[in-house]
Symmetry: D3
Subunit: 243 residues, 6 copies
């Protein structure tokens, strides 16, 4: 199967980091196709950037519609996830969504460790309807670009955060595209399972593709049809027009 | 005060309808400035269109940043509301948000009447944290463009829906930009108060401007600063760069 | 418009403090009419006092029914709010209710700072259906009469409480009638917007009056009619008899 | 033990009906002492009446403080329950509260059948924190005085309501002081247990008295002390002054 | 009445401790009948042990079906409570359930103090639908067998835990069969009421027996009938066969 | 990988039906190993049977501990799921749990269609923390053994139920071990995706095995150790003893 790993920010290094984590998790028959939006924020750390990136991401996905079997959103905010799920003819999985759902399979409650503000991740967990499964979100005061430059320097504070969350959580999600793959380095020293959104999303995408579920024909996740637009990139406009 | 009434779709007729409703509600000193995005969906009735419109809306708002005292989002999905609130240096109010909060002041529970799928409005009410105040969302199978063409034809089914909701709700929100101002025609025949999002939002915007509250200096609603972007319209990129 | 600012305790100094805060927030055409109950607790800091004050407040409001355009309850417990809303022929707004709803317009989550037990305010926020928007209630061990005597002495501990709440909240509500107006002194040193219930309630009352919404004709907020009583003050008995 | 059965409205017939139901449920050593407020609404069917009755009830309870071992509130709105619990030196039980908690012991979810508006009972169940245990509230359009005059005439519609609720509930609460004791007549024809608030409250009051639990010395249920008031009945003022 | 006090683990000393606490709480006419399962865990401190003990407990109860008037489950996990309630022809009360419901009668929120992991008790409170009434669960790192050997040694840390919980709770539940009866020793030094599950359950069982409620004839708590099984103890198989 | 498909009732035909559905969903390298308990209920349709089956299931799993790579519980009540997850050294997935989590990936809200009482499934969804994602549970009055005998006869009423749920749900879960595999027959006529718990669980089990997550070393899902028991089957006692 062909799996699109779509970043929502425009930093190619993050795309590559996520693609590497995806390839490490992928089954033999899964081809990972990385993609980076043509416009938008360099990284997403504000609500405004996240909203803008939603359009950039949908435009990017539309370019691949019909040519991939599934999509993993390589952005820890699960940017435009429900919109992408409605828009695309194939399964779409968010990386934090995937980590949360996988965490539900390994214990009662999960913790979320992220870089920056905790609030938006609490809202994200609630948007996924999983607030009662979440033991807490811990936002560390570390800037994502620092981690891209020197991942090892972040290991100590991140491990301390994991220990803090593990006192009340059965697993810990490392939420942040720049943390993709860091679970492999830290798991040996962690008291509970560490969940990497990209790895989880790749496995769930493979599972969904195998299940061959149709799209809903009714309701708010049915494919758009006959939607008129102005000024959008041609593939996106075409997908909204449907037919 | 200068009040931007910003549509999120590209249908100028809807913008004008909302601007008229805004002017009818505005205080003498409030100047209503209508605005329509340069790109995006003709109307928003799918999740994908809503995500795209978020970018279009933020670009539109950025063009007015610093030159208006408050913003009302003339789109019943409260598209990109939190992002706009973070981005702009002035108060930003969503029309459905405004109707929901106003409804809290007139009774215990409100109903929501809309055109099309009810699901996204249930999610919107929950996103605003008001699920326990909502007695139900009723989605009528009427297309918004039909209402623009012939509003009077929709009066009968909408009144029937109001009656149905009023059996368990103390007020009813008419959710949909194309319904802006219809409360004036239907109120005399309705058993409970009808809430028009545009009217409510205008009054709340005036109230907020009068309160002169500062923006939060910390947390996820603090103004963006030093955010790098690629390919965005200049005013939007500038606002994200801050300073 | 004529705006009744009704205290629910019998301390005239608190009534005057709230009336001053109301006048500072009122629009030019708004006349503030302060009122103090004829009987009841000197201040409300227990559940029993709050229940008794409910009757005292309704009796006070009934004396003004038909002669004011709106009512602001100048009591941070929003004492008998829903009862007053049902009883009176005009809009009635609670000061903490108003602050909570206004807080919803400036960020995702608000904190509440009060004097004394936090528990009843947590219950009040839940009664308003806003528990998921509330980041926490902080009850400082300061007696309200001390603040009336020497407000400046309370500034330091209150600012410390604001800082503590601002770590997880986008705004902070100063809940307590004796804190009315203190936001003006503390805002310059606070990292997030401070919300004064009286100010917020005045603006929301003006907004509601402008919207000219009718009372619900059905449900539990419809005006009482044909209700028989014994031993009540004449205006209150008359209002319950209706007609 | 001496058990005060305190009505919150001023209709002596309701007091006597509840006292009879209480005596039928009471253990041999329990003396039932009926009491009716000196002022207030004839019956409580609006929010305003309920608030006024709260004061009337507390005044009534204060007259018996120290001379009874427990109190049952013979009013289905659980009027001023938490205030009474704080104020009195002995256990205080609400009749609907008692029925709800007892219902938790006989099945997963209970239904509530009442006369008039369902909304306030939904709020009451939520105030008790039991919303997830409640399968629904059904409000029958029957006036309480009619039932006092001719209880048998109400049997048929009430049984129909019980059947409707039993489709999704494991028990049904008959909520309304005028329904006190009606469970005995209807139980043989009902598919699920019928819960009479007075009967449940009497048994829970006896249980609490036997457990000899102290009052909390801290928090919002600790006894009032040093509370100054104006114009209250002497016993109530004395109880608030404490000492 | 004959009251079965049924342990769910196989430690006879715990059964006797609970029986003693039950006798101390029982009314004169209540005969306490202790019972211990024939197989299963020595103590229950893991989820797996709790599941196994559910079967052991039901087998034990079935041996007494028809020969007791009510059952108290002397196990703080309320093991197999709903199953036992459905199975038995008489009332069945869980000890932690009983403490939680009783706590609802003495204040707004209760704390839970236990030995070992707090998580399962948080889930138990949620299973009972009482999460909003619970101020927190505190799990002390003390092994139950240590308390059986030397109860007095645990008094100091348990009192410290009670103090911690009382800062935000109106009462504290001592959750753990080995803590049965310890409330009598600690109450004089505690700021809030201490709730012993066995004592509460005995009083609620007596109350339920007096109310003479029938079993539901429909729904998931109706008695089993015509259920075929393999390899179960004869009394349990017979009870499932019903008739 | 070796995947244990463990029934919790003693009806071998159900085990075989689930094993066939599992094989249809399994990846080439997955060997499906069916297993049926040695004792317990023939089918599970009451709470009591479910509790007994928990022990039977854990005994069955213990016999395979260390010899399988993952376990799927072939019982729609997710019987003893959390206990099994704690007990076993490998991943354990419940079939309804799996369907619910998969449903979260295809839309906003799912419906659940089952045979018999809806109540226990509403509780199960709530136990999984997914109540806000569930649009409703529909319990059809069809006995499971009838479906085993003549599956085709059930197609019409089940399709009608799917249509009813699809009006407010984006997918429908067929909950019931005897419905395993029926999705393949009905999907072509259904407007939304149909989710078969066994198929979903097999894919999630394969995903979890591939992720190679460790067990939590702390908290209530850590492996039991040093737990003493009486009268249990040797493999189960050994697993609880640990080491």
């Amino acid at each position: 199967m062909r799996l699109l790993v779509a970043n929502a920010n425009t930093t190619e290094a993050t795309t590559q980091l996520c693609a590497a984590a995806a390839r490490a998790a992928a089954a033999p028959g899964t081809e990972v196709i990385p993609a980076t939006p043509a416009f938008g924020p360099a990284t997403i750390s504000t609500r405004a950037e996240n909203a803008i990136a939603g359009h950039a991401l949908l435009q990017l996905l539309a370019e691949h519609a019909g040519r991939v079997d599934a999509v993993v959103l390589a952005v820890s905010h699960d940017t435009a996830l429900e919109a992408a799920r409605q828009l695309m003819p194939c399964p779409v999985i968010g990386m934090t969504e995937a980590a949360c759902l996988t965490a539900c399979l390994v214990g009662a409650r999960f913790g979320v460790l992220t870089l920056g503000n905790a609030g938006p991740y609490e809202e994200l967990v609630a948007r996924h309807g999983l607030a009662t499964r979440c033991a807490g979100v811990l936002g560390l005061p570390i800037a994502p670009p620092e981690v891209l430059r020197d991942p090892a320097a972040a290991h100590a504070p991140i491990l301390a955060g994991i220990e803090e969350l593990a006192a009340r959580a059965d697993s810990v999600i490392l939420a942040g595209a720049v943390l993709a793959g860091m679970d492999r380095a830290l798991q040996p020293r962690a008291p509970v399972p560490l969940l990497d959104g990209i790895g989880c999303a790749v496995k769930l995408a493979e599972a969904l593709v195998a299940l061959k579920l149709p799209k809903p024909a009714t309701g708010s996740f049915a494919a758009p049809v006959n939607r008129d637009t102005i000024g959008l990139a041609a593939p996106l406009a075409a997908l909204l027009r449907g037919g």
